[in-house]
């Protein structure tokens, strides 16, 4: 049944339906509403789980690590600085193959400190061994969380569900929450093969030297590469049971016969679809490729989806300083050795909550139709602010 609900609350309710046994988090804007709602759900007795008040994000991640290793389904959520503080634990959770699920309410990274949305936080952690999914709207964020637990526990790989801070976490949208019985039927209880128990003592987290470290890392890399098929099959299984269309690794929109393909992830896609609808009406052959899963990276999917286009514009809210948008570089790698390569350009937009409107997307698309030269652009810069920031940096306030 469709309900009008805030994104954070919808996600909290969905996570509760997945019956985690341990929830642990530390508050950070804009993740707060999710963990507040989960605290209330547990206090009201609607979810039978331990709720741990962490003293930092570092601890929050460590607590879910310990809980997962003990055989409990474990969940946490964070944003921005919190995610960066967790970094060391994130690598550790993945390395120990613990199927923790985490929501990242995407937010810009300091300095300057900024609480608004971009995707620098999770994109900076793309190499830590977690599956990363990006939700376009609140409905997809909810559906992804259910799938995240299934995928994580099937593969013993942790999953990060990324949803844009404020834009999705604080947006009120109609959502079709799955019902509890249906989730119980769809998502099997967590039954790990190995866990900490006195009935079968195991050692977890031992030290591997140069003689074994590479092999253990290779196993994780291979499991990650093979994860695509599980992500896709779980999405299909979900689609059948809940009768809602899901993407797999990626999804396309108006992509057939397109001269220009725009690529992005997260909530930006809604705005982009509106812009593309207009452009199509005006007779411009512009389409969209939506990256739903950034890790494992859908290399062949992207290669196939983008091959026919003359120009590709990767529009993203993150930057590898000194290079270009992070996703753009990775998409270039999908064409390494290909006979025909579209011209791929990087557009870095929306950092620190800067509004990205339909007009901005139109400008990027029309620009690529006119001139498809490969380039890196950071559109939407206010030159007056830039000049004064430059002066402040050189002369102080």
């Amino acid at each position: 049944m469709k309900q009008i609900m805030e994104g954070s609350r919808a996600v909290a309710e969905t996570v509760a339906l997945c019956r985690p046994k341990v929830v642990c988090a530390y508050p950070i804007t804009p993740q707060t509403h999710i963990v507040e709602d989960l605290a209330r759900i547990i206090t009201d007795g609607r979810l039978d789980a331990g709720y741990v008040l962490a003293d930092s994000e570092f601890t929050a991640a460590s607590v879910v690590l310990g809980a997962s290793a003990t055989g409990a389904r474990a969940y946490t959520a964070t944003s921005s600085q919190g995610l960066l503080l967790m970094t060391e634990v994130m690598f550790n959770i993945a390395g120990m193959r613990l199927p923790v699920v985490m929501t990242v309410a995407n937010r810009a990274v300091s300095a300057p400190i900024n609480i608004w949305n971009d995707q620098q936080d999770s994109m900076s952690l793309r190499d830590c061994g977690w599956i990363q999914m990006y939700a376009e709207d609140v409905q997809e964020a909810c559906d992804m969380h259910v799938q995240a637990f299934a995928v994580a526990e099937k593969l013993n790989i942790p999953v990060m569900v990324c949803m844009d801070g404020f834009i999705l976490t604080h947006a009120t949208e109609p959502v079709d929450l799955p019902d509890a019985d249906q989730v119980d039927e769809w998502l099997a209880p967590f039954k790990p093969k190995f866990y900490l128990t006195t009935s079968d003592p195991i050692t977890l987290g031992s030290m591997a030297g140069p003689d074994a470290y590479m092999e253990i890392r290779l196993l994780l890399h291979q499991a990650m590469q093979e994860a695509s098929s599980a992500i896709e099959s779980e999405a299909e299984r979900f689609e059948k049971a809940f009768e809602r269309r899901q993407g797999g690794m990626l999804d396309v929109y108006q992509a057939r016969d397109a001269d220009v393909l725009l690529v992005s992830m997260g909530s930006l896609l809604g705005t982009m679809k509106d812009a593309v609808d207009e452009l199509r009406e005006e007779g411009h052959k512009v389409g969209i490729v939506k990256v739903r899963t950034v890790r494992p990276f859908p290399r062949t999917h992207l290669h196939d989806a983008l091959s026919g286009a003359r120009a590709v514009g990767v529009i993203e809210k993150d930057i590898s300083l000194g290079l270009e948008g992070i996703l753009c570089s990775e998409i270039r790698s999908a064409f390494c050795g290909a006979a025909v390569t579209p011209n791929i350009s990087s557009f870095v937009v929306g950092l620190g909550g800067r509004d990205v409107r339909k007009e901005h997307i139109r400008e990027i698309a029309l620009g690529l139709l006119k001139d498809d030269t490969c380039r890196v652009e950071i559109p939407g810069i206010d030159h007056e602010v830039l000049w004064s920031a430059h002066e402040i940096e050189n002369e102080g306030v």
């Binding site: 341990v22 331990g50 930092s56 607590v63 879910v64 003990t70 128990t197 987290g205």
Partner: protein, 306 residues
């Protein structure tokens, strides 16, 4: 050695600790005292490295190492998971870390664990130095000790700071049981571990462990030096319940020694005996010991039954 013999020990033979390692002696005593019905977490450090070189392990109980600074947090997660899964009767949770992992980098995690009141026994193996990384100064390094990051020289007599009073900090959190003990007295460790495990809530046991290369002692001298630390008053041995000292290990009059008896056994204090002005520093260290003896009532009175 037979498989049966190896498996009969909670922390088995065959680990790679230095000969005469005080921490290995203490950890083995802890493991035997705690028994099989435990789940252990371990911070990064010597104990983790010398017992779990992949693909082997010396532990015959469920054991997990995650990182340097989160033994207390991982233990918290285990304890909550056991309760949430209805398995709380299965095992007691024990967290283990060194002095650096406890007093410095793991301090926040420890504070959170104590404040939340988890039913966990936390053990700090206090070697008074970052042993695993090559003997750098920690928050529990005593005054004037030479370490690789508090070298002695024209401008310094070694570590410039006082040893952090960690048991008092833990007790201030309201932990029901806090104790200090020493690798010099394994029976004392055994008794305190067993006692700590009878409490519900967070308990803390800090064990003074001689580090053979870190302190510069002979490998057969660890136990003797550990006992001298107690008998000179520099390492007070006590138990606290609900924030009050309830029991101390008295120093028998015949055993009591001045601090130089303890200091001169160790290369980390050799500079105090070598350079002019050292005697002033020894006097200051004696004052620390005297203050301990006064504060905890270590001298006089009826002898402890320990």
């Amino acid at each position: 050695m037979s498989v049966e013999q190896v498996e009969s020990r909670v922390l088995s033979y065959g680990h790679t600790a230095c000969a005469g390692c005080g921490e290995a002696l203490a950890a083995r005593t802890v493991a035997e005292a705690a028994g099989r019905d435990v789940i252990m977490t371990n911070a990064t450090g010597c104990l983790e490295v010398f017992t779990t070189r992949y693909p082997r392990s010396s532990w015959n109980v469920p054991w997990i190492h995650s990182l340097f600074e989160n033994a207390a947090s991982v233990a918290s997660g285990i304890e909550v998971a056991l309760k949430a899964l209805g398995r709380e009767g299965e095992a007691k949770v024990i967290a283990q870390a060194g002095d650096g992992g406890t007093a410095d980098i793991g301090m926040g995690a420890l504070s959170g664990m104590l404040e939340r009141g988890h039913d966990i026994l936390y053990i700090c193996y206090d070697t008074e130095v970052y042993s695993n990384t090559g003997f750098q100064r920690s928050g529990l390094t005593p005054t004037d000790a030479l370490t690789t990051t508090s070298p002695t020289g024209k401008l310094s007599w070694g570590n410039l700071t006082r040893k952090k009073d960690l048991p008092a900090i833990v007790a201030a959190h309201g932990a029901p049981y806090v104790a200090t003990t020493s690798a010099g007295y394994p029976l004392d460790i055994d008794r305190k571990i067993k006692k700590a495990l009878t409490f519900t809530g967070p308990s803390y046991v800090q064990i003074h462990c001689p580090c053979v290369p870190g302190w510069g002692v002979e490998s057969n001298m660890g136990v003797k030096v550990a006992r001298l630390a107690i008998n000179c008053g520099l390492y007070p041995i006590f138990e606290m319940e609900d924030g009050r000292v309830v029991r101390v290990r008295k120093i028998k009059d015949d055993d009591r020694v001045p601090v130089d008896e303890y200091l001169k056994q160790q290369k980390r204090f050799a500079h105090l005996f070598k350079y002019p002005g050292g005697e002033e520093h020894i006097k200051e260290i004696q004052a620390i010991a005297d203050a301990n003896i006064e504060k905890y009532g270590l001298a006089r009175g009826p002898l402890s039954v320990d």
